[in-house]
Each structure stands twice: as C-alpha cells, then as structure tokens.
C-alpha cells in the first residue's frame, strides 16, 4: 500500500505483544512508539501526537481503559483511532472497552494477518480523513477569499457607481441585493442641455460576476452623457463595448431614459428589462415602454438598434424603471409580487417621490425579511410640467478676478449629407470647442446654443421638417419618425459651422455661424409670431430660438433664412437661471 507512513503508539507491558505489532507495522512502512503503562501512553500521546494507538487493557499503574478516557479528554485537532488489544474476551469487556472511547477491539492472541488487516483498514480511514480535512481547509480558505473579494468588489463598485446625478432632487431609487452587493447598476447624470439621463442595467446573474459584467457601462454612460451624446448613440456605444468584452453567454439587460423638461419629452431605450412606466400622480399607468431590443452585449454593431421611443407629456407624473427582480420578488413560501402588486403599492402611496420609499418598504415586507433570489432595483424620476418653461443652465464656473487671457481662435467645419446621416455633430464639435480653456466653463450654454442652431439647420433646412407636426397629439413621435426616415435618405446638402473667439471692446466673445444649403425660411414672419420669451402658447420651434436669444447677446438671421450668426459673451450675461 502506497499510503502515508503512520506513527503508531503501542502501549503494552508484555514485550512479545509489543514486538508482534512492531514487526507488522515496520513491514507496512510505519514507525512505532512504545509505552509500558497507561501514564506513559498518555504522555507519549500528548508529546508525540501519534496517528494510531494499540492499547493493552491490563497494565501496571494506569490501566488501558483509564488511559483511553484520559486521551479522549485531551483537546484534539484530528481524529486518532485507538484499538484496544487485550486478552479479555468476554462480550462485556469488549463493549465497555469500546464505550470508553476506543474505536476497535482486538482479542489476544491475534494473528499477524489480522493485525496487518487492522492497520491497513485504519490507514485507509486516516487517508480519507486527511482528504476531508484538506478539503475543508481549502473550503475555508476559499470562503475567506470570496468574502474578501466581495468586500473589495462592494467597495470599488460603490465608488465607481456613485455619482452626483444620483442625488438629483428629481430622482429617488433603491437597490435590494440578493447577496452582499447588487449586480444591478444604477446611473444618473445631467446632460449639458440639462436633460436628465438615467440607466438601469441588470447583468445576467447576481453578485460580483454580474457587477463585473455591468461595470464597463458606467464610464461610457457618464462620459457620453457629459459630452451631450443622444440616447441612441449611447446605447450603441454601450452595446459595442459589452459585445467586445463579454463571452457569448453573458449580456446586460438595460433601460436608458432621457427626461427633457424643456421640451416636455421622455425618451426611452429598453433592451431586456420590464416595461418602463409613466405613472401619473394618482398611480395610474399612462404609458409603457416595453422592451423592444435584445439586451446589450448580444448583437454585433450592424444588427444593433439604438432606436428609442419618445413620448411628449402634458401632465406631471413619475417615470419608473425597474429590474425584473422587482415583479419577481418572491418570499420563501412562493407568490411573486407581480406588476399588479407593484402598482398596488404605488397607487396607495400618493403622488410624490415618497411613493418609491413606500414601494421599497412594501417589497421588503413582501419578501418577509429574506433576501430575494435576484437583485431588485428601481428608479423613480419626477417628471414635472413647467408652464413657463424655465430651465437651468449650469452657472459658468470661472475665476472672477482677471478677464481670462486667450489668443484669437477660429474653427471652420463643414459636413455633407453622407456624414450628417450618422454623425453626432453637436457633441463632437462641443468637444473641440471646450478644449479651449476660456470656453470650458460655458459648456452648458454653448451646448444649448449649438444644438438649437444645428438642429434647426438640419431638421428644417435640410430635412424640411415642419415643427408644427410636434404640436399635434402624438406629434412628437411622428416628427421623430419622419426625421429618422428623411435623415436616412439624405443624399444632398451641407451644413457649415464656424466659430471665432476674439475680443470686442475688451470683452471676450465667441461668434457662431451656422449655414445650411437648404432653401431657408421666412424668419421675419416667424419671429413676429413667436419671438416673445414668456409666451405660453409658443411653438416648440420658437421656444428654441427664444432660448438662443436669451443666451446670446446678438442673434441675426440672414440670406434666405439659411444663415444665422450668434454672438456669445464670455464675460457678461450668460448666467444661471435664465428664462425662456
């Protein structure tokens, strides 16, 4: 037998008995320790920690039974089998011997074959025990390692996913993990035009692996939102990123949403998550955005669609995004919460964002204090209606003292149809512009101005869309659909942009020129109808231009209405809280 060499303790006062066991043990490759009585046996056991013990019963001084009791009372790290080896052969002796803590009983005289067989049998058991011991050691180490990884994961995840946007007063959210921490990822940020972007991502599985899968989304979401990219482009980029790094059987269900208070629209891309809901203040579902796409990370770029669904809202309400863990929340006894359950909890909770806290309490009560099977997360965004169309612009954050020093700077760009079809021109150009130090603090205002002027040139100049379409019921969708269609077919036309940074009467200004190759429009008539800043019935189109006027010191249309020139002052009036 190729087993481990054992250290065998033999306690017997008769030399020939000791000799017999020694011979067998040595032939099997084991070593022996010899004790002449019980006291010696206990002492050797304590100091030498043998693997196996042969114990005579009748010995001078401490007898074998007392020695076994003594040995069994010692603290033991591992099991050491004890075989009583005695001439006492009555059943009563054998039973009481085994009951004192011995593991086997061999009656003297015993043959060499029997002794060999006994030693081999116990050697096998000891091997088995060692294996179990090693395994449980390994398990303990793994467990400690897993706990350490989870702790580290939770820490990094918390830092990576924390963002200013999650503390927005319009937003409330909760996340109930199935394990130490959740694999669901919640992100929120304001875009440069003050739109609120949300993302709720739910990676397959839960815990650390799920969190790891969803992690790459954070940076891309925040980065692109800050640069002013629209939702469809963000969805495409997130998908591209995940597709490149995830194995075929991993994916991330995600909902992206954009709330544009100024234009009173909610735009949603949903791939693999439960319906996003627009819930009015009475708790009724007014609109649902069902999952229209496979989750992120499955489709290769050319097959992926970032197409969103935009809905204009006319009443205040709340946008609710959730992971599938919410409706599937199930206590140990069974019984999923269901969408009905979710709506019942919301309906009973009143109009504001506090409803989400009520929902969270309700879900926890439903789970009956158990962890869910899956991570459960939920975001609720207040969707306000602002009659006077107030909007916020991040105040330019610049040192007050000196007029910032800069040299004259100029940028001229021209985009033709082929590129206009797929490029996000505004974020790209904004990226260039805000590389100039003195312009950087004005990012929000410049984004709004540039978006309005560029989109007018594209939508009305080249695509010939009528903004009056937007004012009809369901018109916003129709407008967006028409826009997408015409843009895809655009094969002629050009938009030129020019930026010039210079000083006028000691003040820094940025002149912006946008020129499209379209037929123009009757700007005089348009502004007479809709130039006033506070008009409540002002058309969507007029609102945009009014906004640019509010932000710029001058705005001049020329040509056939296809050329516009705007002057933005760096020093003066572009401040926070402008109203359009």
């Amino acid at each position: 037998m190729a087993g481990t060499s054992l250290k065998i303790l033999v306690a017997d006062d008769v030399r020939t008995n000791v000799r017999q066991i020694e011979v067998v043990a040595r032939r099997l490759g084991h070593t022996t320790l010899i004790a002449g009585n019980g006291e010696e046996a206990v002492e050797l056991f304590r100091t030498q920690t043998p693997d196996l013990v042969f114990m005579d019963i009748m010995m001078p001084g401490m007898d074998g039974i007392s020695a076994v009791r003594e040995i069994r009372s010692l603290p033991a790290e591992k099991w050491c089998p004890i075989i009583l080896f005695s001439a006492l052969d009555r059943m009563q002796d054998i039973v009481s011997g085994l009951e004192c803590g011995a593991d086997d009983y061999v009656v003297k005289p015993a043959s060499l074959q029997l002794l060999r067989a006994k030693i081999r049998g116990f050697a096998r058991l000891l091997d088995l025990q060692r294996e179990v011991h090693d395994y449980s050691d390994e398990l303990r180490n793994w467990r400690a390692q897993a706990e350490e990884q989870s702790r580290l994961g939770a820490h990094v995840m918390a830092r990576l996913t924390d963002a200013e946007g999650l503390r927005d007063p319009l937003l409330r959210f909760f996340n109930i993990p199935a394990e130490t921490f959740s694999g669901d990822l919640l992100c929120a940020a304001r875009a440069p035009g003050d739109e609120m972007h949300l993302m709720l991502a739910d990676a397959a599985g839960h815990g650390l692996p799920a969190a790891l899968t969803a992690m790459p989304l954070t940076q891309a979401f925040y980065g692109m939102t800050a640069k002013g990219f629209p939702l469809p482009s963000i969805a495409e980029e997130l998908n591209r990123k995940l597709k490149a790094i995830l194995p075929a059987d991993r994916f991330v269900a995600a909902t992206l949403a954009c709330l544009d208070v100024r234009n009173q629209t909610v735009e949603v891309w949903n791939g693999g998550n439960p319906d996003a809901l627009f819930v009015d203040d009475a708790g009724r579902v007014v609109h649902r955005w069902a999952s229209r796409h496979p989750p992120l990370g499955i489709l290769p770029g050319p097959l992926f669609s970032g197409q969103t669904e935009t809905v204009a809202f006319h009443e205040a309400g709340r946008l609710l995004l959730c992971s599938d863990g919410l409706a599937e929340a199930e206590p140990p006894g069974g019984g999923q919460l269901g969408l009905d359950g979710v709506l019942r909890l919301l309906g009973g909770a009143g109009p504001g964002l506090d409803a989400l806290d009520a929902l969270q309490r309700g879900v926890k009560a439903h789970l009956a204090a158990e962890f869910g099977r899956d991570d459960i997360s939920c975001m609720m965004l207040r969707v306000p209606v602002e009659r006077r169309h107030r909007f916020r612009i991040a105040a330019p954050n610049m040192p007050h003292a000196e007029p910032a020093a800069f040299s004259d700077w100029r940028l001229d760009l021209s985009y033709a149809a082929r590129e206009l079809r797929y490029l996000d021109v505004v974020p790209a150009v904004l990226g260039f512009i805000t590389q100039i130090e003195v312009l950087r603090p004005h990012q929000s205002s410049l984004f709004l101005i540039l978006s309005e002027l560029f989109n007018n040139a594209l939508d009305h100049g080249l695509l010939r869309l009528e903004s009056s379409t937007k004012d009809r019921l369901g018109g916003f969708d129709a407008f967006m659909e028409q826009r997408q269609e015409r843009l895809a077919r655009l094969d002629d036309g050009q938009i030129s942009l020019s930026f010039q940074l210079h000083q006028v009467e000691g003040e820094g200004v940025l002149d912006i020129r946008v020129h499209d190759s379209g037929p123009g429009f009757d700007y005089k008539a348009r502004f007479e109808n809709c130039g006033c800043l506070d008009s409540e019935d002002c058309h969507a189109y007029g609102r945009g231009i009014a906004l640019v006027r509010a932000l710029c010191s001058q705005l001049v249309y020329s040509g056939a209405g296809n050329k516009v020139w705007a002057r933005y002052s760096l020093g003066g009036r572009a401040g926070a809280g402008a109203a359009a």
């Binding site: 075929a248 269900a253 999952s291 229209r292 496979p294 989750p295 599938d324």
Partner: protein, 102 residues
Amino acid sequence: MQITKDEAPGRTVLRLSGRFDFHSHRDFRGAYEKALESADVREIEVNFGNVDYLDSSALGMLLLLREKADAKGKQVTLAGLKGAVKQVLDIANFGKLFTIKA
C-alpha cells in the same frame, strides 16, 4: 431539468422539462453536443413545451448554443413557447435572434 432527444434525419429536437436554470448547464450542453458534431444535422430545435421556469443563465446557454451552431452552419429554433417562458423570451426579444416556431 429533464431532456429527451428526438433524432430525425437532418434535425435534432431537444425536449426540455422542468426548471431551465443555472443548474442545467452541463445537462444542456451534453444534450446538444452530438448534434453539433454531426454533419448531417442542419437544425437543432429546443422545445420548451414542458418548461415552467427559465432564468437569465438559461438565456445565456441558448446564446452559447446559437453561437456554436452558427459556426457550424446550423440553425437553432425555439418551439413550444407559452406562459412565463414565452414572456421571458419576449422581454429579451429573442425572436430577433432565433427562429421561433409556433
């Protein structure tokens, strides 16, 4: 989860029953491996008629099968969809990734 296999010429049908979740990994892979290797099989149908639960790792296994089948020029079809199983596959828009049979 239990899987029974029907092998017709050119086509293998995997009939699943019970819960299709992360415990089913080895069984599911074992069930389709032979069909993937066989040059004669053009189509692998996964029948969900008796499946009562499906989780996201099951979706992952289907995607993995799809990728392997694509590489061998074979088609994967999903059949017998109803109830909760159909709902999960609908939300994930698997109709855009697989051929679905009524």
